[in-house]
C-alpha cells in the first residue's frame, strides 16, 4: 500500500536523516531526501510528494519558510507536513535566540507548539503534525500509516 507513495525528508541532520530513512524502509515506503529548505522546495516543486517530513532549523532556508511557502501555494497546500523539532511544547524557548518567548507570541498556538518565535505573518496556522525529538519510531510509523492510508 505504501510502496506507491512518495515521502520527502527535509532535514540537515545526518542522524535524523538516517533515522527517518530507516523508518521509511521499515514501512517499505519510497523516499527522497533534501538537505536544506532550498533543496526541499526544489524537490517539492519537481514532484509533489504525498508527505513531507520537515525539520525546522536548517541552513539556507529554515523549515518555517518551507512550511509557509507550501501553504501559500494552491498546488502544495494540501500536502501533509510532519514537523520534526527538538523544541518542546513546554519549554517556551525561542530556538533561534535561546531566550524565553514573550507572552504574546507564547500565547499563539503555532509558536507555543513549535517553541519558535514567529514573526507576524504566519500566525494562527496550525501545523499538520508535530513530532518532537527524540523521535519515537513506533509513533512516527503509526502516524505515517494513518496519513498515507
Amino acid at each position: 500500500m505504501l510502496e506507491s507513495k512518495d515521502v520527502l525528508i527535509v532535514d540537515d541532520s545526518e542522524e535524523c536523516v538516517i533515522y527517518l530513512t530507516e523508518i521509511l524502509e521499515e514501512l517499505g515506503c519510497p523516499y527522497r531526501v533534501a538537505r536544506n529548505g532550498k533543496e526541499g522546495m526544489e524537490a517539492v516543486r519537481a514532484k509533489t510528494p504525498d508527505l513531507v517530513l520537515l525539520d525546522l532549523m536548517m541552513p539556507q532556508k529554515g523549515g518555517i519558510a518551507v512550511y509557509q511557502e507550501m501553504k501559500k501555494d494552491p498546488a502544495l497546500e494540501k500536502v501533509p507536513i510532519f514537523i520534526i523539532t527538538g523544541a518542546s511544547e513546554a519549554t517556551g524557548v525561542d530556538m533561534i535566540s535561546g531566550k524565553p518567548l514573550p507572552a504574546d507570541t507564547y500565547g499563539d498556538d503555532f509558536s507555543r507548539r513549535f517553541g519558535v518565535k514567529v514573526h507576524g505573518q504566519i500566525k494562527s496556522i496550525a501545523p499538520d503534525v508535530f513530532i518532537e525529538k527524540p523521535i519515537d519510531h513506533e509513533d512516527v510509523m503509526r502516524r505515517i500509516r494513518e496519513v498515507l492510508a
Binding site: E14, E15, T91, V93, I96, G98, P100
Partner: protein, 375 residues
C-alpha cells in the same frame, strides 16, 4: 579634635563681634568727650598758639572708628561665610557626592549622618532609598540568575534531546540490521551511536570550558606556531574530505602574550567548523588559516569557501545550545571561542554569506594590558 577646637574659636569670635563694635563705638564717644574737655581747659593757655581745630580732631577719630567698624563688618561677613560653608555647603556637597555614588552603584556604605538636624534627616531619607535600591538590585540579580538557569536547562535539554535522538536512531538501525543480518547496516548503526557518544563527550568538555572562569595563562610566543600546530592537527581530517588546508601567515608578525592552549583550542574549533562548512554544502574545497601583525595587536583568521551562514544563523552564532551543524554540534563551541577571545581582551568578527563562505577574524592585544607586559 583640631577641627573641633577651630570650630569653637570661630564661634567665640562671631559672638564677640557685636561686643567689639560696641567697644569701638564707646571708645569713640569717650575720645570725643575727652578731646572736647581738653579743648575747654587748654584754650586760655594756648591762646597765643594756634591749636588744631576741634572739628578736625573729631573727624579723624570718626574716620578711624568708621574704618574699624568696616573692618569688623568685613570680618563678620567673612566669618559668617566660613561658618555657612562649614555647616551647610560642605556637608551638602559631601552628601551630594555620596548620593551620586549610591545612584551609580559605586558606593555600598551608607551616607554619614551630619550633625545638622535638617541635613541628618536628608541623609536618613537618602540612606533608606539606597537600601531599597540595593534590595531591588538583589531581586533583579536573583531573577536574572533564575532566568539564566532556566535558559541553560532549556538549551541543555534541547541539545540532549538531539543526542538522545541520535542514540535512538543508532539503536533502531542496529535492531533492523540484527533482524536482517545486514552487516553494513550494523556498521552504520554503530557509527551513529558512536557519533552521539562523542557528542556527549564534547558537550561535557564544552560545558566545563564554558563555566570555567579564569585569566589566560599568558606566555610570550610566536602566534604562527599555534597556527602551524592547528594545521598539523587537522591535516588528516581535511585530507579525508578532500579539502585543501592552507596557511597564509605573516612571518614578521612578532611575539604576542597568549594562552597557547586556549588560542589553539579556539582555532581548532573555528577550523573544524570551516572544514565542516565546506563538506555540508559539498561546494567548498579550501580552508585558509592566516595571521597578521599590527603594532599593538595580532590578527588570526580562518576562512572557508563553504556553505556560509544566513543572517538567522549569524544572529544566533554566540547563543548557547544553538547548533546548526548537520553532524550535530553541542551549541557551545562558538560560545567557548568567544569566551577565550574575551578573556584575552580581544575581539572576534565574522564575515559570511550563504553559498560564498565564511571568514572569522580574531584580534588579540599583544600584551595582557598595563602591568602585564613582557619583561
Amino acid at each position: 579634635m583640631a577641627t573641633g577646637a577651630k570650630r569653637v574659636r570661630w564661634r567665640i569670635l562671631i559672638w564677640l563681634l557685636p561686643l567689639q563694635v560696641l567697644i569701638f563705638a564707646g571708645f569713640e564717644v569717650w575720645v570725643e568727650s575727652r578731646l572736647a574737655a581738653n579743648a575747654e581747659r587748654e584754650r586760655p593757655a594756648l591762646a597765643r598758639e594756634t591749636p588744631p581745630p576741634l572739628d578736625a580732631q573729631v573727624r579723624t577719630v570718626r574716620i578711624a572708628t568708621a574704618a574699624l567698624c568696616a573692618v569688623v563688618l568685613l570680618t563678620t561677613a567673612f566669618t559668617v561665610r566660613r561658618q555657612l560653608e562649614h555647616h551647610l555647603r560642605r556637608p551638602l556637597m559631601r552628601m551630594l557626592a555620596s548620593a551620586e555614588a549610591l545612584g551609580s552603584g559605586e558606593r555600598q556604605r551608607p551616607i554619614r549622618r551630619p550633625r545638622q538636624p535638617g541635613l541628618a534627616l536628608l541623609a536618613d531619607a537618602l540612606n533608606q532609598s539606597a537600601e531599597r535600591i540595593a534590595e531591588q538590585k538583589r531581586e533583579i540579580k536573583e531573577n536574572a540568575r533564575l532566568a539564566g538557569v532556566g535558559q541553560t536547562v532549556a538549551g541543555l535539554s534541547h541539545t540532549l534531546k538531539n543526542v538522545l535522538n541520535g542514540l535512538r536512531a543508532g539503536q533502531f538501525v542496529i535492531d533492523r540490521a540484527l533482524k536482517t543480518g545486514d552487516e553494513q547496516k550494523l556498521r552504520k548503526g554503530l557509527r551513529v551511536t558512536r557519533s552521539s557518544m562523542r557528542r556527549i563527550e564534547r558537550l561535557i568538555f564544552d560545558m566545563l570550558n564554558y563555566v570555567k572562569d579564569r585569566d589566560p595563562r599568558r606566555e610570550s610566543l610566536d602566534p604562527n606556531r599555534i597556527v602551524r600546530s592547528v594545521v598539523a592537527e587537522l591535516k588528516g581530517m581535511a585530507k579525508g574530505w578532500k579539502i585543501e588546508l592552507r596557511t597564509e601567515t605573516d612571518e614578521a608578525i612578532g611575539p604576542a602574550e597568549l594562552d597557547r592552549m586556549e588560542i589553539y583550542r579556539a582555532l581548532v574549533d573555528l577550523a573544524t567548523n570551516a572544514i565542516e562548512a565546506c563538506t555540508e554544502g559539498g561546494q567548498g574545497d579550501l580552508v585558509v588559516l592566516g595571521s597578521r601583525g599590527r603594532p599593538d595587536e595580532i590578527e588570526l583568521s580562518v576562512s572557508d569557501n563553504g556553505i556560509g551562514m544566513t543572517e538567522e544563523v549569524l544572529a544566533s552564532l554566540y547563543t548557547r545550545f544553538v547548533s546548526t551543524k548537520a553532524t550535530g554540534g553541542t551549541g557551545l563551541g562558538m560560545v567557548v571561542v568567544k569566551k577565550i577571545v574575551d578573556e584575552h581582551g580581544g575581539t572576534i568578527a565574522v564575515d559570511s554569506a550563504p553559498g560564498e563562505g565564511t571568514t572569522f577574524r580574531i584580534r588579540l592585544p599583544r600584551t595582557g594590558g598595563a602591568g602585564k607586559t613582557a619583561p
